[in-house]
């Protein structure tokens, strides 16, 4: 590597590098402090939560977790419902978006450019513009209070930014691969299944991780479509718990809050690289 290509800063005097690290570390500390404090406070006795700003519990206890779990309705069911919806949403997005993306990126058919432009336009469309007729449609189908309105749209590739992400990825694959497959006698379906789908893996992992996290955290559409507490998901259950507790027991509220973000945190740690790359390619909202 030539001297010219060195990133700026490596030649800076050491006190400047130290100042840079100090600034970044201080900023990072302030950024995660609320999360650390909530986690720490969930392990503190109630009177200690309001007593101090330190995230470290003086007398750690797990009582908020056990009490919150039994007091907060039926968190086991909430987690199961959320998991079901999120996993189905992942399957739907991975299949439907990759199919649409393969068509847009590799197949040659009439009006392809028109459909592609319309698909891109839907990325900017606010959900509310379609909300009420969608609700009416699902109501007429008898799907309100079921998970279908939350899951079926994913099997119809309505999350356009994932289609776009995959189109970008497929376009970066050498077209000679498709041609070779065609010469070997593969029809487009076989090319998709045996060649494109496996090669698309990094984009599929990104899609799966974001779909899971966003579906799991989604509050608005679950609030709209799920009214029966047996259908409640994690966000709805937590909000009902908050309503019933008011500001009276932050220990239990924090404990359940920490539990609900734990799956997202684990996915974040496992798939950090894919999430960052998905955002970096500039096609994923956030």
């Amino acid at each position: 590597m030539s001297v010219l290509n060195r990133p700026a800063g490596t030649t800076a005097p050491s006190w400047r590098r130290f100042a840079l690290h100090a600034a970044l570390a201080a900023g990072a500390f302030v950024t995660v402090y609320p999360l650390l404090w909530m986690t720490g406070s969930s392990l503190k006795p109630e009177n200690e939560i309001f007593g101090g700003s330190s995230p470290v519990p003086g007398n750690p206890t797990t009582e908020h977790y056990t009490e919150g779990w039994s007091a907060g309705g039926d968190f086991g069911t909430y987690f199961l419902n959320s998991l079901t919806i999120s996993v189905l949403a992942v399957i739907g997005n991975v299949l439907a978006c990759s199919m649409a993306a393969y068509a847009f990126a590799r197949l040659d058919f009439r009006f392809r450019k028109l459909w592609f432009a319309l698909m891109l336009a839907t990325i900017m469309l606010p959900y509310h513009a379609v909300l009420i007729p969608q609700y009416f449609l699902f109501h007429e189908l008898g799907w309100v209070n079921t998970i279908l309105p939350l899951v079926i749209p994913k099997f119809l590739a309505t999350d356009a930014f994932f289609v776009f992400l995959m189109v970008q990825f497929i376009r970066s694959l050498p077209p000679e691969l498709d041609q070779a497959a065609a010469i070997d006698g593969c029809n487009p379906f076989q090319t998709y299944r045996r060649l494109i789908f496996p090669l698309l893996r990094p984009a599929l992992v990104t899609t799966a991780a974001f779909t899971f996290i966003w579906t799991y955290e989604d509050f608005f559409s679950q609030l709209v479509y799920l009214n029966d507490s047996s259908q409640y998901t994690v966000p709805l259950g937590l909000r009902m718990f908050l309503n019933s507790m008011g500001d009276s027991s932050y220990g239990q509220l924090f404990a359940m809050s920490v539990l609900t973000v734990l799956p997202v945190f684990v996915l974040f740690v496992l798939f950090q690289k894919h999430l960052v790359e998905g955002i970096s390619t500039g096609s994923v909202k956030g």
């Binding site: 990133p7 700026a8 800076a12 970044l24 900023g27 990072a28 950024t31 995660v32 609320p34 999360l35 404090w37 101090g52 700003s53 199919m99 393969y102 068509a103 040659d108 058919f109 009439r110 392809r112 319309l118 698909m119 839907t122 900017m124 469309l125 606010p126 509310h128 513009a129 379609v130 909300l131 009420i132 007729p133 609700y135 009416f136 109501h139 749209p153 099997f155 119809l156 590739a157 029809n187 487009p188 996290i213 955290e217 509050f219 608005f220 994690v234 966000p235 937590l238 909000r239 908050l242 500001d247 924090f254 359940m256 809050s257 997202v264 974040f268 950090q272 970096s280 500039g282 956030g286």
Partner: protein, 308 residues
Amino acid sequence: MSASPRTRVRVRARHRHNGWGYLFLAPWLVGFFLLVLGPMAASLALSFTDFNLFDPPKWIGLDNYRQAFFDDERFWNALRVTFTYVFASVPARLAFALAVAMLLNRGVRGLRVYRAVYYLPSLLGGSVAIAVLWRQLFGSDGLLNHFLSWFGADTGHSWIADPDTSLLTMIVLAAWQFGSPMIIFLAGLRQIPQELYEAAELDGAGPIARFRAVTLPLLSPLIFFNLLLQVIGAFQAFTPAYVVSNGTGGPSDSTLFYTLYLYEEGFTQFHMGYASALAWVLFAVIAVFSAIAFLSSKYWVHYADVRS
């Protein structure tokens, strides 16, 4: 695409995969017509009706829009709250994003750790759990007041319950989630050739001049991209305000985000015709903003292949 007449004729003559193409596109096409285009047209039509989901819609012409614009203070209040939120939180978020990205781009060791830590709030910030946390942080007994008491400040003030500061806590929550535009900026900064900075430095440009002459123009496509997506997203913000205010948009409607008002009209009052009109006003506002962004972009967005 610049195709010669001959190739254009050839392309028009054959679309090799008409059948396969539409087969693969079928799920998307069904979704597009049934869940996007159809509902858009239907919500426009419903916005001219009185509709409560159970009785057939009754045509009332422009009455919903007339009521919203001339007879509905809460509509104007919701617009005011939402505009304040959008035009305070998006610049704050993008400024943090760009500043931290520039620090991270200085060849710092431990980049991945810093990047992960700064990104985390973006992933969690929209959840109900964080809204629960926010209620405590800015409550009268909350963490913020505890810090302020170190400096002898009054400790009993609830930032959530005071209509003058409740919206501010929502803006702070939004600014905290600067991680995802930060990652986009960081990816863009890494594409800027170091030689440009060195050339500018040789010409005697200081840090501020280098930022204005090199960083800003070369990053402008990403600034445009982030600005557009963040504004569209911010107009639709819902969860934090709903959870923190117990679904009311209070105190005194000070956090009555537009989407909260729309939800209340549509799904608790079942004024679905009126809510459809509200949705189309929101759609129009977002479309106008996007149009302004696109039309103005030729004056301030520079693409790499254009000499400047």
